[in-house]
């Protein structure tokens, strides 16, 4: 990179970065270091003394069936949300890309759930599936299926997956549509002239060219399912019934503020930190490659 024309000043640049750095240190780096520190400490029940316990908190977490269960719940939840949200968004994006007339209208009508808060999305779906008054649960009842996500763990999982997917489709849709529109039309036309039908064209040309977008979205969707769905879980199921929807982020919140387990919660935070760092690294390595591509 060529050297830019710059200004000379001893104090000004520090003043300019000061607000950002101050917030970063006080509310990000310091608390994160505290979480690291507390994760190797244990506090007595009265909060009077703390002592160094090494990796005991981590050992305890991975021996805790509750935590392992939460890991499993998170995995199921993330896989379901990512698969559904990506699949449906791709279907809609391909359709919108093909529709000549009304494409912009469809786009407008499909993107706005992005603006709905996860917790509010949860409330919308909870109302539809309310066991006594919900429209959908009523329809299911007339079909002979008694829906009650307050008692049935699987049904609760289905409900939060639906709400989380509904909210994420619009995001994926925008990126898929942008990706589709970036594919050179000449490639598609060449294939059509060679006699490839729409299906063949999709699988051998469109999808491979779309795979960088799809991979990027996969990472984003996993991050979303891991971290941004707290509002849905908290407002719809509170992790229940019987912890059937207790994802990791909900558990770390619950253990810190309801169960008041300081060391355990800190250790869970550190594990989550490792997960985010891993996902961020994957995302940035990928972006690097996309630039070359």
């Amino acid at each position: 990179m060529r050297e830019r024309v710059t200004y000379r000043s001893k104090v000004l640049p520090y003043l300019l970065v000061a607000p950002q750095i101050a917030v970063t240190i006080v509310f990000f780096l310091w608390p994160a270091s505290q979480a690291l520190y507390q994760s190797v400490q244990r506090q007595d029940p009265f909060g009077l003394r703390t002592r160094f316990v090494g990796l005991d908190n981590f050992v305890a977490i991975f021996e805790d069936p509750g935590y392992l269960h939460s890991l499993q719940v998170t995995a199921v939840f993330s896989i379901c949300v990512a698969t559904l949200a990506l699949g449906l968004a791709l279907l809609l994006a391909v359709a919108a890309d093909r529709a000549v007339r009304g494409a912009t209208t469809y786009k407008t009508l499909l993107i706005w759930p992005y603006a709905v808060a996860p917790a509010v999305a949860g409330v919308l779906w909870m109302f539809l599936f309310n066991p006594t008054i919900g429209s959908v649960s009523y329809a299911l009842r007339t079909l002979g299926y008694g829906w009650n996500h307050l008692l049935d763990g699987t049904e609760a999982m289905v409900l939060v997956v639906l709400a989380a997917t509904w909210k994420q489709i619009s995001y994926n849709f925008i990126f898929f549509l942008a990706g589709l529109q970036a594919i050179p039309k000449s490639l598609i036309e060449a294939a059509a002239i060679d006699g490839a039908g729409p299906n063949r064209r999709f699988w051998t040309i469109v999808l491979p060219l779309l795979s960088p977008t799809a991979f990027f979205l996969l990472v984003v969707n996993v991050v979303y399912a891991f971290f941004d769905t707290f509002g849905i879980i908290h407002s719809v199921t509170s992790g229940g019934p019987a912890r059937a929807t207790e994802i990791l982020v909900y558990k770390v919140f619950y253990d810190a503020f309801e169960a008041l387990d300081l060391g355990g919660s800190a250790a869970q935070s550190v594990i989550l930190m490792v997960i985010v760092i891993g996902l961020t690294v994957v995302q940035f390595r990928y972006v690097e490659r996309r630039v070359h591509y």
Binding site: R4, P13, T24, F28, W30, L91, V116, S135, F175
Partner: protein
Amino acid sequence: MVEKQGIGVWVTHAILVLGVAIVAFPIYVTFVASSLTLREVLDAPMTLVPGPHLWENYRTALFHGTKMNGTPVIGMLWNSLVMALVIAAGKIVISLLSAFAVVYFRFPFRMVFFWMIFITLMLPVEVRILPTYKVVSDLEMLNSFGGLTVPLIASATATFLFRQFFMTVPDELVEATKIDGAGPMRFFKDVLVPLSRTNIAALFVILFIYGWNQYLWPLLITTDHRMDTIVIGIKRMLAAGDDQIEWPVVMATTMLAMIPPVFVVVAMQRWFVKGLVDSEK
């Protein structure tokens, strides 16, 4: 031109119409419920035709809230609006300033600062939940707008975005302002910020929604009902227990919680899509 007629076109439109219908259905039902009386909502199956009680329910929600909760929604809307605006504006301002410093000055520890900002990407609230709460509580910022907003206004994404953009601004502009005798802040204010207008607008849409839709953070920081944001307020109304919930009022509140961010997205669609795509690069 690839074939664009025949049965395929109908299938395409059918998929899209179905998609739009499924996306809109939960909102429609919520809207209908916000226009009925409680009795009509409880009478399963609930009608799917809007009733005449729309204004009544919204007025109750706005100025009285539910009977159990008793907090008027208009106050919650105000809290959400302040929170969203301060977070969006705050993030943009401090990111503009730090990107300006990183791109247009050479100073010791420049890259250290840059990496410190970068690291915040990897530290969402969820991974430092209790210690961050403790910091805010030690600073006596619980139940205040300061506590709701300041801890969220660091932004690696916005800083990177502006940094990328500033690096594309031609050097000639800097030199021209230097020759004209303008200092760095003058250049920043009169050249750089006006040039960043589009980026600012795009980012503003994304960040406004980000701020409006916050959930975990206000849940931790506010215990006083007067500080409830509307998203938190809905949750509190629902905590009343199934047979106590005034569904029409709650559903009116839900609609009110969605209208501002949805309006921003639809009205500023062009900037919204740009902001979304840019901030993920």
